[in-house]
């Protein structure tokens, strides 16, 4: 290597290093931006008697539907479509949830009747305390399939099968800060 080659290489390496540094600084600067606020809270939907059997009650601002099944079970479904985050609506005539953006359709329990949605509607944890139905909208719970265990029963209504349906739900306990709405 001649002296000229050495200096030529040195300038090139230093230039590349400077450019790389500028890129890193820029990206790190931009990555440290923070989004303001987050979505979600533990919300009292009402008394369990407020929701007749076989009904779907929309909570538009809180972005969920509270569904009560024939056996008295409660299910809170996120209205955000698991496909591409549109908001699904309840089609009363066809008794299905339908997405206005890509035509996905879901049963009352959230299972997919019609793709493109790749998984059932997400649910929110439901907790029934002193006959008050509470919904925790801080974290949407993803499901790959629907199960009867997703339903929550008021302590006064007997569950359909003995020993089924826990009174509290698996994930976040109320009062603890959740990771926010996704």
């Amino acid at each position: 290597m001649t002296r000229r080659d050495f200096f030529g290489l040195t300038w090139r390496v230093l230039t590349a290093f400077t450019a790389g540094q500028a890129a890193c600084i820029g990206l790190r600067f931009l990555a440290s931006r923070k989004a303001e606020g987050s979505f979600g809270e533990v919300l009292i939907a009402g008394l369990s008697g407020d929701f007749p059997l076989e009904t779907v009650t929309p909570f538009e601002q809180a972005r969920f539907f509270l569904i009560r099944f024939a056996d008295g079970g409660f299910l809170a479904l996120s209205s955000t479509c698991p496909h591409l985050a549109c908001v699904v609506g309840w089609d009363t005539a066809r008794r299905r949830f339908a997405c206005p953006c890509h035509g996905s359709e879901f049963e009352r329990d959230g299972s997919v009747v019609n793709p493109p949605a790749p998984r059932p509607l997400d649910r929110f944890a439901v907790l029934i305390e002193n006959d008050r139905v509470k919904v925790d909208t801080r974290q949407a719970l993803r499901r790959t399939s629907v199960t009867p265990e997703d339903l929550v029963y008021a302590p006064t209504t007997p569950p359909p099968a003995p020993g089924a349906a826990p009174a509290t739900l698996d994930s976040t306990a109320p009062g603890q800060p959740g990771p926010g709405y996704r």
Binding site: L30, A31, R33, K34, A35, E36, G37, S38, F39, E60, Q61, R63, H83, L84, A85, C86, V87, G89, D91, A98, C99, P100, C101, H102, G103, E105, V112, P115, P116, A117, P118, G180, Y181, R182
Partner: protein, 466 residues
């Protein structure tokens, strides 16, 4: 300098200022015109002399000039709009209303910006089609094809980031959907989405990011690449129109004219015509503005801007990972490889400048366009009414039943079509042309179906029943 001084009194101050900017007077001879082209910063993007043939209107259709005029209008109106617009979710919509209702010709300026953006996308695609069908991207112009693809991507991104600005229903929901698509991009998708919108809903964070991209990142990038693109035309030489079966032209013997005035006057004339048409259109047709964004309630049906409806239609039929990653990835790969694989290096097989390559190429283009449009329409109707893929492949995840299986089947069909054309004796360039035409016709058909034939909950309906 000393000699000049001795000749007589110095000219006046204004004359000296003018001469310090333009060293020479406006040329009267061809020699002077050539020199002016070479020495002027903007004019030197052109060659000093151009082949007479390259000026033929039915070859380039002036599409490049139209695109540049639109870019200029977008810059001018965009700067004006920046002075009246408030980039915040609470105030953006109101600032647009104030602009259109209270500011002098505010509505016209917004209309022009909106329609120029839409038209620029159309003109860019037409320009791409023209270059493709005349084989103008064949060597030595491969790299300029790539620059053109980059420009098209930037134009699409500018349109996309631009339509969040009014913060109306279209803005909110189209952006929500498009950024959610990133969640299906493996590895980096979720981080890119977080970088763009901050993780949660589309809000202040997203608007700030999109505003920055829309007004300070994309426009200068476009300006630089456009200049480079034009300069490359000069360096790579103009491709020249040829009749069917006309042998390649001898470049040393073709007739040339000076850029000033022949090309320059043509460009200025076309530019003025384009501008006049744009102003007339924008005076009569207002830019759409839907209701203010409502994060709890999308419109039904919720449709993207018309130029993305082809994509939205694909999303109705296939698993999102395939629409987001596989289909665009393969399309881009194909378009990038095209200039390096399409041409036959043998000089006697050169087809540059011949519309649709050959007589067979013309037949294949027509056949493929019909096939692409017809099959696409048939498949969309079949999928809506008869095909139930998840049921056919019961139990399998939708990524397979609505992704790998149907996409694989369609790809196999295309391979068979491509192969059988080869058996019929079509050259590689003709087969590529057939495949490109089929896919483009299919995408256009999807766009038309999405725009005109989709009603409530995106169900298939006739346009007059919507």
């Amino acid at each position: 300098m000393n000699q000049d001084d001795s000749r007589g009194p110095q000219p006046g101050l204004l004359t000296r200022v003018r001469r310090s900017i333009w060293r020479e007077p406006w040329p009267e001879s061809d020699r002077g015109r050539v020199r002016l082209t070479l020495n002027d910063l903007i004019l030197h993007l052109h060659a000093p002399r151009v082949p007479q043939r390259a000026l033929r209107a039915t070859y380039s259709y002036g599409l490049g000039i139209f695109a540049i005029v639109l870019f200029g209008v977008l810059g001018f109106t965009g700067v004006l709009l920046t002075f009246t617009y408030t980039p915040s979710p609470n105030d953006a919509y109101a600032s647009i209303q104030t602009l259109t209702a209270e500011i002098w010709i505010g509505a016209l300026i917004r209309n022009m910006h909106h329609w120029s953006g839409n038209l620029l996308l159309i003109v860019s695609v037409l320009h791409l089609l023209r270059v493709f069908y005349t084989a103008a991207f064949h060597p030595p112009r491969e790299f300029n094809w790539l620059l053109g693809l980059g420009l098209l991507a930037l134009v699409a991104l500018s349109n996309f980031t631009g339509y969040l600005m009014p913060w109306d229903q279209l803005a909110y929901w189209a952006t929500t959907i498009a950024t959610s698509m990133l969640n299906y991009v493996p590895v980096a998708g979720a981080s890119i989405r977080e970088f763009l919108v901050g993780g949660g809903d589309i809000g202040e964070f997203a608007l700030r990011t999109f505003f920055a991209f829309h007004i300070v990142v994309f426009p200068p990038l476009l300006a630089i690449i456009i200049s480079y693109h034009i300069w490359r035309v000069r360096k790579d030489t103009f491709s020249l129109p040829r009749a069917l079966n006309e042998p390649p032209l001898d470049r040393r013997r073709i007739e040339r004219v000076t850029t000033i005035p022949h090309l320059l006057n043509l460009e200025i004339g076309l530019a003025l015509l384009a501008l006049a048409l744009l102003i007339a259109w924008s005076t009569w047709v207002p830019a759409p503005l839907e209701d203010a964004a409502n994060p709890t309630h999308p419109p039904n049906p919720a449709k993207a801007a018309w130029y993305f409806m082809g994509f939205q239609e694909l999303l109705l039929h296939f698993h999102p990972a395939f629409v987001t990653v596989v289909i665009p990835g393969l399309t881009l790969l194909g378009l990038f490889l095209l200039p390096y694989t399409d041409a036959d290096p043998r000089p006697e097989r050169n087809v540059t400048g011949i519309w649709f390559r050959s007589r067979r190429g013309r037949w294949l283009a027509a056949l493929s366009a019909l096939l692409g449009a017809g099959l696409t329409a048939a498949l969309v109707v079949a999928d809506e009414h008869w095909l139930d893929l998840p049921a056919l492949f019961g139990g399998l995840p939708t990524a397979i039943s609505n992704g790998a299986v149907p996409i694989g089947a369609l790809a196999l069909g295309l391979v068979v079509y491509y192969w059988s054309l080869g058996r019929q004796g079509a050259t590689r360039s003709e087969r590529n042309l057939a495949l490109f035409t089929l896919l483009f016709a299919a995408f256009l058909t999807l766009t038309v179906i999405g725009v005109f034939f989709r009603g409530e909950n995106m169900a298939l309906v006739l346009p007059w029943n919507r």
